[in-house]
Amino acid sequence: MTSDHGTPAPLETAAPSGSRVNDFVIKIANVNGTGSASANGLLMKSLFRMGIPVTGKNFFPSNIQGLPTWYEIRVSGDGYRCRSGQVDIMVAMNNETYVEDLAEVAPGGFFFYDATWPRDSQLSRKDVTILGIPLAGMCNEHFDQARSRILMKNVAYVGALAALLDIDMAIIRQLLNETFASKAHLVDANQAAIDLGYEYAQEHFSCPLPLRLEAMDETAGHIMIDGNTAAALGCLYAGATVGAWYPITPSTSLMDAFKSYCERYRVDPESGERRFCIVQAEDELSAVGMVVGAAWAGARAFTPTSGPGISLMNEFIGFAYYTEVPIVLIDVQRVGPSTGMPTRTQQCDILSCAYASHGDTRHILLFPADPHECFELAVAAFDLAERFQTPVMMLTDLDIGMNDWMVPELQWDDGYAPDRGKVLTAEQLAEMPDFHRYADVDGDGVPWRSLPGVHSNGAYFLRGSGHTERGTYTENSEEYQRVLDRLEHKFETARNVLPAPVVETSADTQVGIISIGSCDGAVREARDLLAGRGYALNYLRVKAFPFADEVDAFIASHRRIFVVEQNRDGQLRRLLLMETQATRQQLSSIRHYNGMPISARDIVEDIGRALSQEVAA
């Protein structure tokens, strides 16, 4: 068998952590409920303000207090934003996890721990530098209150890292001033904790470490934001006025953010009247039912949820498909099946969303890759739902939704007007004594709709039972089938107006990658790494389902395609096999599904192995 490539370079093991500037990973091991999130946020933002690209990933338990939690910061001057697959500096604040935390540090790396309590002498590695700082001891001496002592030892490690990595102290000070603008005493307390860590590290270690930071100018025009907040902003700018939801990790912060933006921008300052209505439902069945009711009545309405919620919403999703009600669902995917691991990430709802509900149903899906796209595609979701009068589901995941990503600043065009689709006005209805709700008047499969309360000529009965083009009940085969066939026609009309796939075909090769959503960063880095070894691969990232013709064209022009996704069953690959001309032989599966966000290394190893086998054969 011939290959498109030359002789493969051998795969590397973990890169040794020598002297490196702006290119390493810091991981902080902590106990949840101790306030570590704000310390980690402070650390992240300091680096970001130094102009250095950073990404933060939070690995937290499904628990309120007392269990292990980790925060991983990747510093990448090159702008890579996935996990690198190794840890260079471990900040070990949880003695329960010392063993695994130490084991995770790459050779040549650093293990920084709270030396207030003695560390088991077994916990040592010759290839890792151990740095002990008595954080708790210093904070217990300096702070009076029990809660401050717990919180401040986290702030103190930020101070120590500032010395060890050479973080700009003026930026830290500035961030403290901004964060605690109205509480001067907290600025002082936090600064004191920073100083404790900083001074101890300066005194006892040779600062900075060989892994260190240098200010850059790579973050201008960017923000650090999580996908749930960005999606909530998208819903705000799309003009959604009704939100119904049932709390579920990892989607909850989306509605929290939407609510807080609505309270900020949609409350009349004088009367206190609110231009929105958010209802916390009793369950997901009810949440989606409310969205159906609101959308039918004419409001832009949505519900954020996760996999278990999608399972519960299935019946209504089919109802909205068949009755042609424009609802928007945002599925922040988490690990399944069943309850799965609620605080871990996966892309495991692709198939269940594409074909949600019994009967012949297919749905429009949107797949953002990062928070920036969450914002853009959330707006698009409402326009598409109304334009095609059908459910639109935006599938993000826990990694996008809950982690802080560095993305280009969100942009808004003030010329935008919501696309309400084919909605008849009272004037139009007045001249229309014989309104047919489900007739294909324009030949595109999209009927005209009327809103309740507008005109009696627009009255019809929305029903999930068999209906005619008028919307009346039927058990007549022909009448039923006419509506069902038009729904398929409508789906085809949507196919090529959905957000287009991102295609990068620079190299003269017949080998490519197709991927989806949050895999994007890892795929990009993997392509660079593979190119460095002589494997150039083309790339297509799907942004929507049904797949546009471009997806078929990409498949047709590639001999072999690696489908990279984060689930066990290769759901995107299966969907491609069912919905495009791809053959089973063409599509190889690269699957990562342990609940941690995919790293470039996960992809490089699998693809490298597969391609070297090709060469060997």
Binding site: V242, S286, G298, L462
Partner: protein, 351 residues
Amino acid sequence: MSFIRKPTVANSRLPKNALGLTRRDYEGGMSTLCAGCGHDSITAALVQAAWELELVPHQVVKLSGIGCSSKTPAYFMSQAHGVNSVHGRMPSVATGAGAANRDLVCLGVSGDGDSLSIGFGQLAHAMRRNLNMAYVIENNGVYGLTKGQFSASADVGSRAKRGETNVQPPIDPVVTAIALGCTFVARSFSGDKQQLVPLLKAAIRHRGFALLDVLSPCVTFNDHEDSTKSYAYTRRYYHPAIHADFVPPAQDIKTAYDHGEAMPVELHDGSRIVLRKVDEGFDPSDRARTIGFLQDAAKKGEVVTGLMYIQPGQDDLHEVNHTVPGPLHSQPYAGLHPGADGLKDLQRRYR
């Protein structure tokens, strides 16, 4: 069976309401239910109530779930929008529709299976939110469309047509609604239009959630001897505890009553419900006593009817939310977001 349109009969002598509409204008498609079904009488009462209330048909939304009862919104007010939603989930659709457009008159029609089994949770939570709607349960104790299984409202000892006897305690929607804090709770009988029409009118005008449980015999599966939801049983054990008249805002309360003391209850729009006690042991403003009264009557096998509980003036969903007046979908888009400058400004905190 497909939809059958009723023929239009021109009859200029039919009385018209203030909108110039006749009762015919409030009718819908031809009923496909069994001849003699109690539900058809309720449909007729709804037509009468809507006509008398002078409801603007297209401002009304009719919502239902699944079952015989849930078919009935197709049989009245064909000029009103309707939703025949999924089984047991009509309250959530009504909540969404009501949330989106508070000007709509929300009228729900459901059955005992749809409301007390599969949809019990949604019903409870719609009451809890005090959603502004009238919710009618057409209660016959059986699943008709699936041919006669007991529903959750079947009484202990009631015998099914196939011979089986129900042993599980019934869920009484009236007692349940009062216990859950529903602000308007009534029971009536499909065979008593005189009582039913004013109760329907009051339920529609009540701001907040109005539950109206209407016994509505199933002539095909639950109208035999040993059924406690038959016409014969209901008539025999019928116990109207209180009489209610609905008085629109502009009219005076009639003072001449046959017996009992008149108790006017004012609603938010100035209309009133005038209650007249038939049973002296009953007080529709006292939750605990009403529940006791109903439970005592149930032990005797009596079917107590009338306006069982009312608490006007409780904030509904929108009053709690402080929502702007009018439909949310007609809010000017510009007022829903802070624009390009606002987006730039709000992102400062993400830097």
